[in-house]
Symmetry: C2
Subunit: 137 residues, 2 copies
DNA sequence: TATAATCCTACTATTCCGATAGGATTTAAA
DNA sequence: TTTAAATCCTATCGGAATAGTAGGATTATA
C-alpha cells in the first residue's frame, strides 16, 4: 500500500501544477482542498522542495510553485523521493540496491525473477507518466 | 517493499513444490535451507495451509505437501493471501475495495489513473506467473 | 510594526512487522 | 504403551515505521 505521505505529496504536486502561472500556492489552500492535515503536509512540501520539484517564497503572499515543467517530472522520480525504492526487494533495486540478509545466492533465489518482472512493469508505468498526466481532464 | 512474511511464504512454497512427489516436507528443513526463523515460518505455513495451497500431516514423519499443481497456483492468489491487496490504494482494489478517507470523489482524484495503471501492470505479471515458474531451471 | 507565510526540530501516538514463548495435539515407531 | 517428532494454536513483545502534532524561528509584505 502507498503511504499517505506519498499520496498526499502527489496530490499536492498536482494541485500546484494546476495553478501553474498564477501566484504561489499556500499549504493551507492545498490542505483544505485535498483534506490533508496542514502540519503533516508542511513536512511533505519541504521534502518536495529539497528534492527540487518545488520552489517556495516565504512571508506574506508566499507559497509554493513548480520549478520544472509538469511534462518533465516523471512519476518515478517522485516515487523514489517520497516512497523509496520501486522494487519490492532490495536485491533487485536499481537505485537502492542491497543484498538480502537471507539468500546466500541471488542467482538461485526462487523469487528473484518474479521480483525483476514486477520491478520492470512498475518502472514502465512510472517512467511514462509525468505530473502533466496527473492533471489531465 | 515486500514483507518478509510474503517473501518467506513464496520461498517455502517453492521449496515444497520442488519436493513434490516425495514425502512431506518439514518446517525445520525449509527454515534451515532458506534461512528463516522456524517459529516465524510456522505461522506462515499455517496461513498457506488454511488458504488451501498446502496440506499437512501431523506427527512423526509429517510435514507439508502441495494440494494443487504448481502450474495452477497463480502468484496473484498467493500475494493476496500473504501480502494483501495488489493495489496501492484501496479505492482501486478489485478484491479489497474501500473508499479513501480523503477523496470526496474518485473520478476527480488526480492519482486515480496512475494507481489503476500500476495495479493493472502488476496484475498482468502476477496473473501470468505461477508457482511452477518459481522453480524453473 | 503587524501579519502571513515558510522553515525547522523535536516529539508523540499508533500501528504493523518480525519474531518468540509455551504449550496442546496428533502420529509413527520403538 | 511409551517416546519422540511433528504440526497446531494463541498470546505476547520489542522495535521500527507511519502519521501526525507542537512550538517556535525566520522571512517577506503591506
Amino acid at each position: 500500500m502507498l503511504s499517505k505521505k506519498t499520496k498526499y505529496g502527489l496530490k499536492a504536486l498536482a494541485y500546484v501544477a494546476k495553478h501553474k502561472g498564477e501566484d504561489p500556492v499556500q499549504i493551507g489552500a492545498i490542505a483544505k482542498s485535498e483534506n490533508i492535515s496542514q502540519k503533516f503536509l508542511e513536512s511533505i512540501m519541504l521534502t518536495l522542495r529539497k528534492a527540487g520539484f518545488l520552489g517556495s517564497k516565504k512571508g506574506k503572499g508566499g507559497g509554493y510553485y513548480l520549478r520544472r515543467q509538469p511534462e518533465d517530472i516523471k512519476m518515478v522520480e517522485v516515487m523514489r523521493i517520497l516512497e523509496g525504492p520501486v522494487s519490492l526487494v532490495p536485491c533487485v533495486s536499481l537505485n537502492f540496491y542491497e543484498r538480502c540478509d537471507d539468500c546466500p545466492d541471488e542467482t538461485t533465489c526462487s523469487v528473484h525473477s518474479l521480483m525483476v518482472q514486477l520491478r520492470d512493469s512498475n518502472l514502465s508505468v512510472l517512467n511514462k507518466n509525468t505530473l502533466a498526466d496527473l492533471i489531465k481532464e
